[in-house]
């Protein structure tokens, strides 16, 4: 799978890359209904179609998917926080990292943030079909009769408010409650945003990247005591800890 965002159709047609005509047609139908509200799209040939719409058009996009594309089966709504974790990636990273999360990062340009994984290559920080905000909403609906499905994405603006899908899909109720409690995204028009998993007095939004995994911060990952450094390794280089852990894991597997 190509990691970069989707090329415009005319460029894609020029080379011999495999095409997915059914999904392209679906995307075009969708774009014809929504017009400018479609920001970007991406097709993984033979499997998935992503369409990114503007935040304002979030409900309209759901409406179009339901009424014009016949996607009446509701799958899920969730979110993604594209902020690279300020606490470090791995089990035992928490101790070496600064306790203060890097609050400099704003939702305006997450791609500028130095991140080990993607900084060298093409811009991937916000995933397929692109993105300009830290938080993205994600939803999938399916047309059971025609066997077509679509994954919708939308950037969440700084006010962290999105239109609710509850008037369109009944199942969105619980999913939006979950997304609200996990990411702090408010849904306008939702009949009752309450906690669904967490206690009613819980503070914070656990799936945000700057919310620490506290269990790992107070107690080191028990697996790491088994890992002895190789005798030759005196000063591990920058990337070594990751490789070390992979070794330990590989041994178990």
């Amino acid at each position: 799978m190509s990691p970069d965002t989707d090329a415009p159709p005319e460029v894609e047609a020029a080379d011999d890359a495999p095409r997915d005509e059914a999904r392209e047609a679906l995307r075009d139908r969708f774009a014809a209904e929504l017009g400018d509200a479609v920001v970007d799209s991406h097709i993984a040939v033979g499997s998935t179609l992503w369409v990114r719409v503007t935040a304002e058009a979030w409900r309209t996009a759901g409406q179009v998917a339901r009424d014009h594309l016949g996607c009446r089966w509701f799958d899920f709504i969730s979110g993604v926080d594209w902020l690279p974790s300020p606490w470090g990636r791995y089990e035992n990273d928490g101790f070496d990292q600064p306790a203060e999360p890097d609050t400099e990062i704003t939702s305006s340009d997450p791609t500028r943030h130095p991140d080990g994984a993607g900084s060298a290559g093409p811009v991937f920080e916000t995933g397929v079909a692109g993105g300009e905000a830290r938080f993205q909403l994600l939803a999938r609906v399916v047309n059971l009769a025609e066997h077509t499905d679509i994954i919708l994405k939308a950037d969440v603006g700084d006010d962290m408010t999105m239109p609710s899908w509850v008037p369109l899909y009944d199942g969105a109720d619980w999913h939006e409650r979950e997304t609200w409690e996990m990411f702090g995204i408010t849904f306008e028009g939702h009949p009752g945003l309450r906690h669904i998993y967490l206690p009613a007095d819980f503070e914070g939004h656990p799936l945000r990247k700057d919310f620490p995994l506290i269990a790992r911060m107070v107690k080191p990952w028990p697996g790491i005591v088994d890992v002895e450094p190789m005798p030759a390794e005196d000063e591990p280089a920058e990337d070594e800890p990751a490789a070390d852990e992979g070794d330990a894991e590989g041994g178990e597997a």
Binding site: F74, F76, V80, V128, G171, W174, P191, Y197, G250
Partner: protein, 390 residues
Amino acid sequence: MTAVSDREQLRYIAAQAADARINFEIETEGMTINLGPQHPATHGTLRIVAKLDAEQVITAEPVAGYMHRGYEKICEARTYPQINTLVNRIDWLGSFANEVPFILASERLMDVEAPPRAQWIRTAMFEMSRIANLVLFAGDTALQIGGQTAAFYGFRDREFVLNQIEAVSGGRFHPNFDRIGGLKDDLPKGWIAETKTAMEKVRAFCDEIDDLVTGNEIFQARTRGVGIIPADVAQSYGLSGANLRGSGVDWDLRRDSHSGLVHRELDWKVHTHPDGDCFSRWWVRIQEIREATRMVDQCLDGLPSGPIMAKVPRIIKVPAGEAYVETENPLGAMGYYVVSKGDLGPFRLKIRSASFNNISVLPWVLRGVYVPDIVSILASLYFILGDIDR
């Protein structure tokens, strides 16, 4: 609030209320009852707060979260092989099936395909976990409706399948047998013949259950016409699996998607039932056990030879990208949305579990039913708490 059919809902309530007209004539005081958090009908700890008017439910609100384990957060700090172990615990009655969509999504991102033999064994074990899960459903549902005998049969007969899963993987409940690129081990000697015997026994169990429960007059009275979910409501709530097919929607991901399992090469049938009531959901599941035993037999007959593991690096790093794979698990459609940034573990893992959607319909379907029917409806919607709370 409901988008689809308030009108139908009201008609349904009116029909239910017609023979309980006394509630309207005598002003009875409302009452709130708690079903759960610890109730045998909840498969764990689900609480249902029901406001009653005499024997009828006015509103019912399921309260989840007593067992929320935060998998989506933990998985952001785990490597791919570690996550495989974790997700085993989501639907603990059909554990192997939990691993499969996650592994398939990771394989899609890595552009790895498991060798044919691994795919066939995977499909066989996928269906075996369905059998282990649904056999217990058969026993448990009968128990909740008042037939104790079937419960013991259910617990007894799922052992035939669990023993086979244990024989191949070492774990009765949590096989942790699937790997990115294939399987952990090949099948042990003599396993195929033993499994076929087990499938015979499971088919005998289905016949037994049909004799004992399905045709039972009391069982039918408790389930027929109770908890009707029309097809458009089922779709709008995202119901899946037998709950969707029990509402007459002909949709089965094993047949209708290209996920990487070999179901499409087997000879089997998708069963649907038009009624949408508790009985239809029960009936569809019993048929699915039968179909699953046939599929296991066919998988074992058609098992190709060859390796069981593709060439994958020892340390698994999944290339950057996003993938969503959904499979038809015992409880319904289960999917994993994997966001990778090229690390040892996913950047974000969204777990779409079937029971979460399946029981989100409860406030709708419980409006207007009688208290004993709550249990019938809960049993027939069939959820596992681990699959709701993740």
